[in-house]
């Protein structure tokens, strides 16, 4: 059975993976879409503006959201100005990136030997989404500095954080294999 990421001459990639990997990534991408809670898209610019205006503000007490949408300045006025201008766009970008991964997972779901197509134009959305998942899990694991990161690398099997750390490491592994394939 083939396994891993295979790139063709045009740069398109196929990921030969396992059914449980499809389910896990689908679940993570669904959670990410819910977390960023992007304003509803509309083809009508006025409606889109209204949706952005009415969108619920992000809960910045949540460390995962604080890390996905960091203050863009240490000057609080600059930071809130940036949020006013750019936050809706960032939320929509992260949601549409995750939707690309979700669509690929839905196409591969239920197959005994899943083959996930990752065409060139989708590859950055994939990398951004895998990275966002790592940032969210890193925040949930309390990784604030390099020391925390090393501790998470060496958790005992019976540590309550181990299941989350396993997913965190797995997504890092998948991202690194995809990057290898893209840059090979």
């Amino acid at each position: 059975m083939r396994n891993g990421f295979v790139r063709d001459a045009d740069g398109n990639i196929v990921w030969y993976c396992l059914p449980f990997e499809v389910g896990l990534l689908e679940s993570m991408a669904t959670q990410l879409v819910e977390l960023v809670d992007a304003p509803a898209w509309s083809d009508d610019p006025l409606q889109r503006w209204a949706n952005e205006r009415d969108a619920a503000p992000l809960d910045r007490e949540d460390p995962a959201l604080a890390r996905l949408f960091p203050d863009a300045s240490n000057n609080s006025e600059e930071a809130s100005e940036f949020r006013r201008l750019m936050e809706a766009e960032l939320r929509s970008q992260k949601a549409s990136d995750a939707a690309i991964v979700l669509a690929a997972m839905a196409a591969a779901e239920g197959r005994p030997d899943p083959e996930v197509a990752i065409p060139t134009q989708a590859q950055d959305a994939w990398l951004r989404t895998l990275n966002a998942m790592r940032l969210v899990l890193g925040a949930r694991l309390g990784i604030d500095d390099e020391q925390d990161a090393e501790l998470v690398d060496d958790l005992e099997p019976d540590d309550e954080r181990t299941p989350v750390a396993d997913v965190y490491h797995w997504i890092g592994y998948v991202q690194s294999l995809l990057l290898d394939a893209i840059t090979s």
């Binding site: 300045s73 951004r128 790592r134 925390d148 690194s176």
Partner: protein, 98 residues
């Protein structure tokens, strides 16, 4: 490369700012313990079009110095770059150039 810095409507505003002779701003990327060196290097290459050597040098500066100014331009341009870096999950801020 699917995204170019500062496309679309921002260009008109940018010309206006330059006309007024505003001081330049910089886009800063900060070190963080989750993003990998491989990924940060790739983002610098892909988004800014840097060579692998330059992207690697800036990534190492982020890693060892804690931060690196990766782009300079008008405030509008830097807002655009910071937005792109944050979309990639890098911890990016903007500030007036020193």
């Amino acid at each position: 490369m699917t995204e170019q810095p500062g496309g679309g409507t921002a260009i008109q505003e940018r010309v206006g700012e330059q006309h007024l002779g505003q001081a330049p701003w910089v886009c800063i990327v900060w070190n963080d313990p989750v993003n990998t060196m491989q990924y940060v290097t790739y983002v610098f290459q892909t988004y800014f079009g840097f060579t692998k050597e330059k992207a690697t040098r800036l990534m190492l500066e982020v890693h060892t110095e804690g931060r690196s100014a990766v782009a300079m331009g008008t405030k509008d341009e830097m807002e655009r770059d910071v937005t792109a870096m944050q979309a990639y999950g890098l911890w990016a801020t903007l500030e007036p150039a020193e």
